[in-house]
């Protein structure tokens, strides 16, 4: 009976709706796959304009391709036609929230009335309350979300933010530490925790966390399957790359590979997709397939950032020194400041006995004064090895020049090699 009544209400609501025009986004310049998908869905809607789910799907596709205003209109219609479906008012709320937290609150409430236990939705509602300045209500919702899903890092982070803003850094540290433990890859939680430690008087701990946070990515992911399902619909190259990158961040290399292959299946002419696939395959340990994908990217766009260097490294690892050297020199032409490529050229040149090129490229690397520790250490090691080889060949002065450069870099890095290099130079009369 209740079901019948709901159905009646839904039909009544639909019957009173004015005829809704199907929102048509400006598709000029859009990628072919995007244009085709939206055109097809709009045609389906014209054939069945009372279908709430079809309106919702259309809204999701629109939103996935950043046609936000059109997506809002489609979600509104989906919600009106299917008022018992949680997904449509929820997606509508999150989009409206991007422009006005206050206007999104009734939409969140309508959605959560249909599915009160959807913790990611509770968190988003709490965040909207926080943005709207309703801090007490926000705290209540964060706590409720944390009870529903104790592992929801965003709920704990919300409680931490509220505590920090309320002048209770000790409580902020407690909540934010929980969030940080649950999502150590989340930079936002880390930097807020660092600030809370500093506010609580422990600047040292704050500095440690802040320093570690610098290496974290800018984009923070959250577990919200309904929202994620929207972005999964995007058909443009950028979206395939973004989704693949998200999988990579989480170590889901198979899923990253699947995304990239799907993108290539839709448009195989995009070198970025092939190069990203090459990187994922390399991370998976499949070097031969990785090189094939990188080679394809290179064929499509030889100047694509990083591809020549990637190929050079792969060729070197496979023992093709000639191919690696040619590709490394090409990479250096494109990125003259790439010290790692300089080192690769130096290693291969040394291996082939080309002393002039080895010394020349090592000097260029030395002049570049790399600041990242692994590259600098590798350069120190190479300069030392070349210096020793020269000394063994009786070229004492030339050897000293190389070792002095190694010493200079080692001193700058406060490396333990300093004493060793000083002793060796003393032996050479320096």
């Amino acid at each position: 009976m209740l079901r019948l009544l709901s159905l009646f209400l839904a039909v009544a609501a639909a019957a009173t709706l004015p005829a809704q025009q199907i929102p048509e986004p400006p598709l000029e310049g859009a990628e072919t796959a995007v244009r085709q998908r939206l055109t097809t869905q709009a045609a389906d809607l014209r054939a069945d304009p009372e279908n709430g789910a079809a309106w919702g799907r259309y809204g999701m596709t629109l939103e996935a391709h950043t046609f936000t205003a059109e997506a809002i209109a489609a979600y509104r219609q989906a919600h009106a036609l299917s008022p018992r479906t949680f997904r449509w008012p929820y997606l509508l709320a999150t989009l409206v929230d991007e422009r006005s937290a206050a206007e999104s609150l009734p939409l969140y409430r309508a959605a959560l009335a249909l599915n009160p236990d959807y913790a990611p939705g509770r968190v988003r509602y709490a965040e909207a309350l926080e943005r709207a300045g309703q801090f007490d209500d926000a705290a209540t919702e964060y706590e409720r979300a944390a009870r529903l899903m104790p592992a929801n890092a965003h709920a704990h982070a919300g409680l931490g933010r509220l505590a920090l803003a309320a002048g209770d850094p000790a409580a902020a540290v407690r909540h934010l530490s929980r969030a940080h433990d649950l999502a150590p890859e989340n930079r936002s939680f880390a930097v807020t925790l660092a600030q809370a430690h500093a506010r609580a008087g422990d600047r040292e701990r704050g500095q440690e966390i802040a320093a570690a946070a610098r290496s974290l990515g800018r984009i923070n992911y959250r577990n919200d399957p309904i929202r994620s399902s929207v972005h999964d619909l995007a058909l443009d190259v950028r979206s395939y790359l973004r989704r693949a990158n998200a999988h990579r961040v989480h170590g889901e290399l198979d899923l990253a590979q699947r995304e990239l292959r799907a993108g290539i299946a839709i448009d195989g002419s995009r070198p970025e997709l092939h190069f990203a696939l090459a990187e994922v395959l390399a991370a998976s340990g499949d070097q031969p397939a990785s090189q094939v994908a990188a080679r394809r990217a290179y064929e499509l766009h030889p100047e694509l950032e990083g591809v020549a260097a990637f190929l050079a490294r792969g060729l070197f690892q496979s023992g093709d020194l000639s191919g690696a050297l040619a590709m490394a020199e090409e990479a250096l032409d494109l990125s003259p400041g790439d010290v790692n490529m300089m080192l690769l050229v130096a290693i291969i040149s040394a291996e082939r006995g080309d002393v002039v090129r080895t010394v020349e490229i090592l000097d260029r690397a030395y002049q570049a004064r790399p600041q990242d520790a692994p590259t600098r250490n590798a350069l120190i090691q190479l300069l030392t090895n070349v210096g020793e080889a020269m000394a063994n060949s009786g070229l004492q002065d030339a050897a000293a020049v190389q070792l002095e450069k190694a010493l200079d870099l080692a001193e700058e890095a406060e490396s333990p090699d300093v004493a060793l290099l000083q002793r060796r130079l003393a032996q050479l009369g320096r």
Partner: protein
Amino acid sequence: MPAVMGGGAAVFDADGDGDLDLYFIAPAPGGSRFYLQQDDGLFLDATAASGLVGDGMGATAGDLDNDGDVDLYITRVGPDRLLLNDGNGVFADRSAAWDASTPGWSSSAALLDYDRDGYLDIYVARYVAFDPERVCSQHGGRRDFCGPTEFEGMSDVLLHNLGGHGFEDVGASAGITAVTDAGLGVVAADFDHDGEIDIYVANDADPNNLWIHQGGGRFVDDGVLQGSAYNRWGNSEAGMGIATGDADLDLDLDLFVTHLITETNTYYRNLLLPGFEDATIETDLGAASLDLTGFGTAFFDADNDGDLDLAVANGAVKRRPSALAPHGLWADYVEPNLFLINQGDRFLDASSEPPWTEHGLSRALVPADLDRDGDLDLVIANLDGPPQILRNLTIDPEAPADRAAAANWLQIRVIDPRLGREAIGARIVVRTLDGPRLVHALSTGSYLSAGPATVHLGLGTADATDGFDVVWPDGLIETFDGVAANQVVELVRGEGEVQ
């Protein structure tokens, strides 16, 4: 991309005749324009005669050679330019002789005398290693302007003034080249009241930098722990312009940073010891900006009531989700500007009336009393059309003596006669019946902008001040007697009582 990020504006007295002139800097070759203010208050295009031809992103204005006139440093996508004033509003390019041709894409620049040698140094914020060949698109594949994350950020530059004869880039020894972020806005002031001038940089998509001067020309970025690098949510935002001023009247400098659509602008309230807190929500400064992309911004006392109001110049850098104009080249990008009135602990959005309802693509914004009637007008640079001058009608320029009883004002020039110029960086506490007010003599801020270093202070109903405490850039503190309201007062170093 540079076309959608420019351009800047400088408001300064170029020819030393006592009124303010206007320079609008445009990224397009030959697009910049210079206007001299005439005795009748009208402006005359004097671009060619002044030597201020060419292109650029923004400018900073100050007396760089201590010869008593205002010089210009022009930021560009390419080598920057130094233009020295001959005192009559005619400028000569001395970039090469002064070693001032900073390469790369420079955005905003700020003047400061960090080493207290009496010569103004320049902090140059740099943006990204721009590649004009890069093609960018939105989701869906539609072509659009690129964003900063498409390119590598650039380290900033600190130009040490070598006695008024040249510059030396001391960025590396100062420690500021340790980061390569996409800098757009910059202000220099003593944020932590330790007597040393600090630098705050708004970065686009990267965390903002708060370079705390350790003394001896060394700076350390303490933005994260001091709460001004990331917003309340721990997110780095698309920092564009910066407003700075004592918005909550607690005698320290607060910060307001403008951002991209779907991000709010952010108000960082200075708490001094622990640093800053994001008080955007608590002060109602967020909601009005969520659907807009902010650039130039300034705290200024629009109604002379004694507290600082806010203006923001807006305009999208990528197609908006919904266009606000029916047609036109920039229909997908134009937006209205914002005006927010300080109501004590909150700000009220007062943008519902013209001229704030007009749509445009605005960038630089500078408050200045162009008509010298005792209230602050606004100069706004627009990239989709001519600039705007919003004349403030708080005081009728035709009858300034008939001002409302609660609109008293004071303008303060802090002069160091040894240097022959205004003491940019001086901190002044003005003692009034309503309590002390903190102001700074700063000529830069906002976005790609430079304004006069003269301080404007609304006094509300007070018809006089009780006195002034001036902290000069070299640390000397002097106290001066109070003066009657509604005048321009000069506080001259050496004429006060040394503390």
